[in-house]
């Protein structure tokens, strides 16, 4: 065995321990019928999967909700960080300080985020409600309202992701050579044109990378939703991870939960695979 392989081995073992081993375990469990109370699990083939797709009333809606959730999140999480990054692009003292401060939402623990937003958006004692009242509006119940809860959570989740997205976008912007901008300026290109014809093509790949990360993170979002709405009201925020958690830890239906988990994992693997298939650099030596 080569020394390089030896050096990477511990990480590979750890990675297998939390991905491959659980995946095998999960797949195995998904083929078993869960016996509540006593009694041994028994092999039932794909019955759990068939049940999920044909009989289960919550699975398909939660899967659909997850895609909607990812879509809305991506919409916000790709545009806003790009705009903020463009604002912060110039290197001066004010911007350097701002770049640091922008990171704060990202390093707050999720428990804290869920509490503070629940509080800020509480209709009676929340600051947002207070602001709305002071301009003569009534504060809606953000998390009590079926239509509002979902979008509000998207915004909070995005608020949490924006710092990281902004940093990645800033990093991407910094890779565009200044000389290109200068040349374009000489040729009389305006700021908007410079963005469309120079910046955008050059950092396109990074945008896709941020999109991949945002996709996977959003698809997996659990803590935030669980801590704020627990999937409610009336299942309006019951995305796939939340449903899986409920199946496993509230209904103790391990077989079904495992089957849903396998489906969820396969979706993510497919997305990652597609990303690398499309974007991996053409074979050129090192990578």
């Amino acid at each position: 065995m080569n020394r390089g392989m030896l050096l990477i081995l511990p990480v590979v073992i750890l990675a297998l321990l939390i991905t491959a081993v659980p995946l095998v375990n999960m797949t195995y469990k998904s083929l078993q019928k869960t016996m509540f109370g006593f009694g041994k699990e028994r092999f039932i083939g794909l019955e759990n999967y068939v049940n999920l797709f044909t009989k289960d009333e919550d699975f398909l809606p939660s899967l659909w909700r997850s895609f909607l959730w990812v879509f809305e999140n991506l919409l916000v999480q790709l545009t806003i960080p790009m705009l903020i990054a463009l604002l912060l692009q110039e290197n001066n003292l004010f911007n350097r300080l701002s770049r640091t401060l922008v990171l704060i939402p990202w390093i707050l623990p999720l428990v804290v985020i869920s509490v503070v937003w629940r509080w800020l958006l509480e209709p009676n004692i929340g600051y947002v409600g207070y602001l709305l009242r002071s301009v003569g509006l009534n504060s809606p119940s953000f998390f009590g309202n079926k239509a509002l809860a979902f979008h509000t959570l998207v915004l909070i989740n995005s608020w949490h992701f924006i710092p990281f997205g902004t940093i990645l976008m800033l990093a991407a912007l910094s890779t565009v050579p200044q000389s290109l901008y200068d040349a374009a300026k000489v040729d009389g290109a305006g700021a908007f044109q410079r963005f469309i014809y120079i910046t955008f093509p050059m950092i396109g790949r990074t945008i896709w990378f941020v999109a991949l990360l945002a996709f996977m993170w959003s698809f997996n979002t659990f803590d935030l939703i669980w801590l704020i709405t627990e999937g409610g009201p009336a299942d309006s925020t019951l995305t796939l991870p939340v449903y899986i958690y409920k199946l496993a830890f509230k209904m103790y239906n391990y077989g079904k939960a495992s089957a849903a988990s396998v489906v969820s994992t396969l979706i993510l693997i497919a997305v990652a695979y597609a990303y690398f298939k499309v974007f991996s650099p053409k074979k050129e030596g090192t990578r």
Binding site: T19, F94, R99, P105, I113, V115, I125, L170, F249, I269
Partner: protein
Amino acid sequence: MRKRLMKVLNISLITLVLIVLLFPFFWIVDSSFKSFAEIMRSSPSIIPKEPTLDHYKFIFTFRMASKDFPLNIYNSLRVSLSTMAISTVLAIMGGYGLARYEFKGRDFLSKSMLIVYVLPGVPLLLPVYNLLAHLKLVDSLTGLVLIYTALNTPFSVWLLRAFFDAIPKELEEAASIDGASRIQSFFKVVLPLSLMGIITAAMFVFITTWGEYTFAQMIITSDWKKTVSLGLATYMTDQYIEWGPLLAATTIVVIPVLVLFLPFSGFFVKGLASGALKE
């Protein structure tokens, strides 16, 4: 004139963004100095009317088995620092191995690192729990360190590989001509040059583990093993939220991360630019 105007517009837009992004955190810190009655007022004021340190005194002096904030901090520090140390050492090894040695499957491994980092989520909770139960590591901080290390190291490897890649091989070769062994030249040449990346990777691990909630709440059950996220959750029950202590504790939880992180955040941006985005 037009340039001036653009600059003013730029600064005011950034200020607006900062207000939206930072207000929730500001509000936590600000309100932690308010009396209970003032926190609950429906027309809150920005500046505390009668500033008080009562909530801080409370969380540090009122300690009982089920709510012991100083102990939560101690536990979290142990977990986060251990994870950070182990994970960073492993990531340096792995990243260096990927960057400097040719072997079959290297590219595949490199990419898998990223996938392994983004893949786990709720679907893996149950199987990971079963695994820990197998290893007799349920309800143990060691189990938590194991999981966190496994979850975070792949990303660090990926980040550090790019840093090591950026260091010219010739530097190491020059050192070895001067008689340094591979290990010596690693410590004398590679390590100092990649310090920025290593700090970035280490900070990343510390921050993500410090506030982690989902795995912690599943694995840890004993009160005296609770980490800060779980500690904060003890101030919130379905019926009642102890706002004062909760806000004070939150402030205390976030401040060390800020102190640790913000001075280095410049490196962090640069680190990601040269590391994560390089393909």
